[in-house]
Amino acid sequence: MTDPKTLSSFDLDTAEKTYLDANELVINMGPQHPATHGVLRVILRLDGEKVLGLECVIGYLHRGVEKIAENRTYTMFNPYVDRMDYVAAVSNGLGYCEAVEKLLSVEAPPRAQYIRVILTELNRIASHQLWLGTHALDIGAITPLFYTFRDREEILKIFEKYCGARLTTHAFRIGGLQYEAYDGFEEDVRKFCKFVKPKIDEYEELLTTNRIWLERTKGVGVISGKDCIALGVTGPVLRASGVKWDIRKALPYANYKNFDFEIPTGQNGDTYDRYIVRMIEMRQSLRIIEQAVAGIPEGPIMAKVPKVMKPPVGEVYHSIEAPKGELGYFIVSDGSTQPYRVRVRPPSFVNLQALDLMCRDQLVADVIAVIGTLDIVLGEVDR
């Protein structure tokens, strides 16, 4: 086992000397490459096609979100968080709103909590669907992409009907929700659950027992639970390595403790296990959604929050289980209307760190598979 502490690091400038000199080949993948899911640049050191080490170069999408936060009021910053992990914007919003609510010591009313959970879980399914499509595409199966996008469309339609936006939803407000669920919201969600269940089976039919899929994913990008914890890797990647840990269960937020669901885990920590874990997670999310839809209470959707928010001086760290892992917000308030400091703990950023370890001694083609299986969104990595 390679020591995770010694992550590779080297300079591409020396590449010219090594290129074609038989033993080592330094190759640059990205930032514009079809399989790096955005503008990730990976510098690979290869022995033939075997990866000796790699270094990620990130920051191409850096927009200084944390700096922006310091110059916006708490409410004004809310839409910005959607732009980080743009495939799971609702989760980002939930994390931020709950963190500020904690700072203000308010709690969203139950009805708002239920709708929040429904939308967040829908978004988790959408995020996993997008992951599955692109991941399968990276491995060479082109058809799942279209299947998952077809079904993700239904989720986006619900979002659109609810808040008018499909991707960067800005669905939640600090203290609750701005919009009451539209007429037929429950019916739509129920219909979606019924619609998507056979579709998930359909994805599995294409891939789960597909020989080539098995060969490409089993034993690829293995990471042990211990390494995961050492590298701070969370989310499905951690669970696939056998650590049964999900913030929804461990440190429940929103009203997740009201719902009955299971945390899937894998044993081998390879790409296939991560695939299976995410597939089960989609089903579990459906379970939560069904319970939530059945139990939406009547009542207000907005807690009493002052128009101009001036949280008391102090700092708070709040994190949620985003589709990609632990998404944390560390907010420092100096008592003014603007946050003194907002730190986002992005799951993609921290998970991406494990790429080097997971790719060692694998082949170039596996790097693609591992980047896919980590499920990173560069918007969130670079912020």
């Binding site: 995770p4 502490k5 010694t6 992550l7 690091s9 990130i58 920051g59 850096h62 200084g64 944390e66 700096k67 922006i68 310091e70 110059n71 904690k102 700072l103 010591s105 390494d227 914890i229 050492a230 590298l231 701070g232 890797v233 650590v243 840990w245 461990a250 440190l251 102090g314 700092e315 708070v316 760290y317 994190s319 632990e326 944390g328 560390f330 420092v332 003194y340 400091r341 730190r343 703990r345 950023f349 921290v350 991406l352 760190q353 670079d382 912020r383």
Partner: protein, 158 residues
């Protein structure tokens, strides 16, 4: 736990609670040992986050914050230390491997140096960028126009 730590390290540790979240402010001199103890003896095996906050008016300008989590205890804690500008901290990469990139980001954004870090360089901003954007004295309209001019070949629009 805090009592035990207090016994060992004396007054260097100040346990606090805000909104139900525990954190401790520790003296800078305690930093590598205390973190090591927290991981090894108190089972805080997962470093969630490492970040900093800049208070330009204070004498010790920076809060450096570790957010730690313990899987066995299911508990989260924050460790905070105060350092002055130009002061460096020992790297915690040997304790938690995840601190590698997190420390690089803190260096990138605040210019806080971590001694013993395997490869401390900018991570989100390009190499050669001037200034540390998350410091409060880094104006939002200010940009490294020199870098922009050299690397992008355009006049900075700001």
């Amino acid at each position: 736990m805090v009592a035990k730590l207090n016994r060992a390290y004396g007054s260097g540790i100040e346990p606090l609670t805000h909104l139900g979240q525990n954190y401790m402010v520790v003296d800078r001199s305690l930093i590598p040992e205390l973190l090591q103890v927290l991981r090894d003896e108190e089972q805080f095996d997962y470093c969630v986050d490492l970040t900093a906050v800049h208070y330009p008016k204070r004498e010790k300008q920076f809060d450096v914050v570790w957010v730690l989590y313990s899987f066995p205890r299911n508990e989260r804690i924050r460790v905070k230390t105060l350092i002055a500008d130009g002061e460096s901290l020992p790297s915690s990469v040997p304790i938690w491997a995840t601190c590698n990139w997190l420390e690089r980001e803190v260096y990138d954004m605040f210019g806080i140096k971590f001694d013993g870090h395997p490869d401390l360089k900018r991570i989100l901003l390009p190499e050669g960028w001037k200034g540390f954007p998350l410091r409060k004295d880094y104006g939002i309209l200010q940009q490294d126009s020199e870098w922009v001019q050299i690397n992008l070949g355009i006049e900075s629009g700001q």
